[in-house]
């Protein structure tokens, strides 16, 4: 028994007892079940496993603190109405916002943040990290950290453009179908059914094999694949709005379709559409990352997270985690966006329990 193990259990038990004493039920349950799990882990994995748990808990605590501070920061800066909303955000959503904020900064100011250019060869292949290169070099000797920063601009930018394209197409068609109705509505509905019954990755691969993996093709392909999903939702949301009395009144006033969509229907179906935008962005981002991992995304030498994983994958067999970093960057952003979307959906649905 080392001091670490004794301290570890003492801390956990102290936290559980304190929580139980002060009637904090959820904290108690969490702490005590962690204690029980730790018994098993300690027996199976030894001190190493317990240390890993401690490190994870420490990281989690750090993340929670960052999220809390960031939420307070936003509340302090935001106007009163928004601040009120922000107060209801759980820590996970605050964490998501923090991640999105960080990525946005990295993407926008990439050339100033990154110490080297994205295609600049500065050392030997797979050079280890030193004070010059934070994360070492990649397979051609380019600085991993700089490429990661530029990747925020390229990968996220591509996914964002593609999502916006899908949204403009899908939401536009959905709103039009809801207002017009009739054969246009029917036709678009069936068309969406057909597109949605092809698996997205397969459809993307088919289109890329034919038109070649260039950036415009990727954007158009993704837009075609995801527009039907957006169309479905917009059609459903707008369908509920269209039957309202004020729409009837506007129609009787003699307003045209354009006015109806812009001034009456869109403002009343905005909330679910924004949440959907976040969700779609996650799907698109994962799809594009998958494509570039397969070598069919943004072409080299442009830095792109998916292809960075593939190019450095050989390092994994030496137990080096470098290839995991861009993959983690992808996962982190998707997790962050999902957390924010989760909170928004929760808020707008009013929680059905």
């Amino acid at each position: 028994m080392s001091y670490f193990v004794i301290g570890y259990y003492a801390l956990l038990l102290a936290v559980s007892c304190l929580a139980a004493f002060y009637n904090r039920r959820s904290v108690f349950l969490l702490a005590f079940s962690l204690t029980l799990v730790s018994f098993v882990l300690g027996i199976v994995g030894g001190v190493g496993a317990l240390k890993a748990v401690a490190i994870c808990a420490g990281l989690l605590g750090l993340t929670a603190m960052v999220s809390y501070a960031f939420r307070e920061f936003l509340i302090a800066l935001a106007p009163i109405e928004t601040a009120k909303e922000l107060r209801t955000a759980p820590l996970t959503a605050a964490f998501g916002m923090f991640v999105i904020f960080t990525y946005a900064i990295a993407g926008i100011f990439a050339p100033w943040i990154a110490p080297f250019g994205e295609a600049e060869v500065i050392s030997s292949a797979f050079a280890p990290a030193d004070e010059n290169m934070l994360l070492g070099a990649d397979q051609l000797g380019r600085d991993m950290f700089s490429r990661l920063v530029f990747g925020a601009r390229n990968s996220v930018g591509l996914a964002l453009t593609a999502t916006i394209a899908a949204f403009v197409l899908g939401a536009g068609a959905g709103l039009l179908a809801a207002t017009k109705g009739g054969w246009f509505d029917q036709f678009m509905g069936r068309f969406a059914d057909v597109i949605m019954s092809i698996p997205s990755l397969i459809f993307a691969l088919l289109m890329l094999s034919i038109f070649g993996p260039t950036t415009p093709v990727i954007i158009i392909a993704v837009a075609i694949i995801y527009a039907p999903r957006v169309f479905r939702l917009t059609r459903a949301v707008a369908g509920n709005v269209v039957v309202m009395d004020y729409i009837e009144a506007a129609k009787l006033r003699g307003e045209g379709t354009g006015y109806l969509i812009r001034r009456e229907i869109l403002p009343n179906s905005m909330a679910p559409l924004i949440a959907e935008f976040g969700l779609e962005f996650c799907f698109v981002f994962l799809l594009v990352a998958g494509l570039s991992f397969l070598g069919l995304g943004i072409q080299p030498p442009t830095a792109d997270w998916g292809s960075m994983v593939r190019e450095n994958a050989t390092l994994i067999s030496f137990g080096d985690i470098t290839p995991l970093i861009p993959a983690a960057a992808i996962a982190l952003l998707t997790v962050g966006v999902n957390f924010v979307v989760d909170w928004m959906l929760h808020r707008s649905s009013g929680l059905k329990e």
Partner: protein, 318 residues
């Protein structure tokens, strides 16, 4: 009973129609190529005679409709022509690989489905507790991670640091089942992680919306014990959503398998597709796409049919 058969038949017919339209899309998409297939295969430097000979050999001198009908007739009999890169029959290339892919997907499904449903129900019963919240964060994280991220993490720990499982899922004939299961454990585990997260969330959502319905409230109010509320009142109505969740996620497995196969160098149809795409081997791409789409539609169909069979309300559409 005739009622049900009619509904199922109608749904099957719709599935066939969609599959037919998809075959049209897949075939005529290649026609959109700048130039034509012969040009794409031979490249810019090809002479006129070579191009003409190639076109003749591939039947490109015939109108597209005729070629489409020929291709469709072949596809129905699992004959997709021959690869333009190796010249081998496409069905020979992908036949065995398709079985491998189905094996991997089934392996993952057998592990994932029971775990996911049990966990999903537990989380739904414990909703709003700390476990529910932890599970929510964990599943969201798992869903949000790209498959290759999970796959490389598993390789790093299970195969390189701890040396428990091989990172390369190469399989050959004549391997015993136990050996096969051992070799393909990591790819299957990757798929399990993603699919369990999806399935758990969907199961949780459908069980919660079920538990919120008035007849459950009624059963509770009349004093039925909690297990009886679940088993006798909730479960019969829960089958339809659960079957739906399972079928949809199996359909999801079919796509997820592509990336996982590439990471683990598993000889499945997904890898054949990716290879063919980078070599621009169109007959193979078309065949793989058609097979994937057909499987996808079939599973969605199974979900609908299962829902119709278990839920009498769906048998009488308004």
């Amino acid at each position: 009973m005739g009622d049900i058969l009619g509904l199922v038949g109608k749904r099957l017919g719709l599935g066939l129609v969609i599959l037919f339209i998809i075959s049209i899309i897949i075939f005529f998409m290649v026609e959109l190529l700048p130039g034509d297939i012969a040009q794409a295969v031979l490249g810019q430097g090809a002479t006129e005679e070579n191009l003409a000979a190639m076109r003749k050999e591939m039947g490109l001198d015939q109108p597209a409709i005729v070629r489409y009908l020929g291709w469709l007739a072949g596809a129905v009999q699992f004959d997709f022509g021959s690869s333009i890169v190796t010249g081998k029959a496409v069905s020979a290339i992908i036949g065995e690989r398709f079985v491998n892919t189905l094996f991997l997907a089934a392996y993952a499904a057998v592990i994932a489905v029971p775990i996911a449903i049990i966990l999903g129900v537990i989380v739904a019963l414990l909703r709003n507790s700390i476990f529910d919240r932890v599970a929510n964060v964990a599943t969201l994280t798992s869903i949000s991670s790209p498959e290759f991220f999970l796959a490389y993490i598993l390789i790093l720990y299970f195969s390189i640091k701890w040396g428990m499982f091989p990172s390369n899922a190469k399989i050959s004939d004549g391997m015993t089942l136990a050996d096969l299961l051992y070799r393909t454990f990591l790819p299957a585990l990757t798929l399990v992680l993603v699919v369990v997260a999806h399935m758990m969330r969907m199961t949780r959502a459908s069980i919660i919306s079920l538990l919120a319905s008035p007849y459950i409230e009624m059963a509770r109010l009349k004093g039925a014990p909690p297990w009886k509320v679940i088993v006798k009142h909730a479960l019969p109505n829960a089958w339809a959503p659960i079957i739906n969740v399972v079928a949809l996620n199996l359909a999801y497995l079919i796509t997820g398998v592509v990336l996982v196969e590439v990471v683990f160098v598993y000889p499945g149809i997904g890898q054949a597709l990716v290879d063919a795409v980078s070599k621009r081997d169109f007959p193979v791409v078309q065949a793989c796409c058609l097979i994937f789409a057909a499987t996808f539609i079939l599973l969605n169909l199974a979900a609908d049919v299962g829902a119709i069979l278990t839920n009498p309300r769906l048998r009488h559409p308004k």
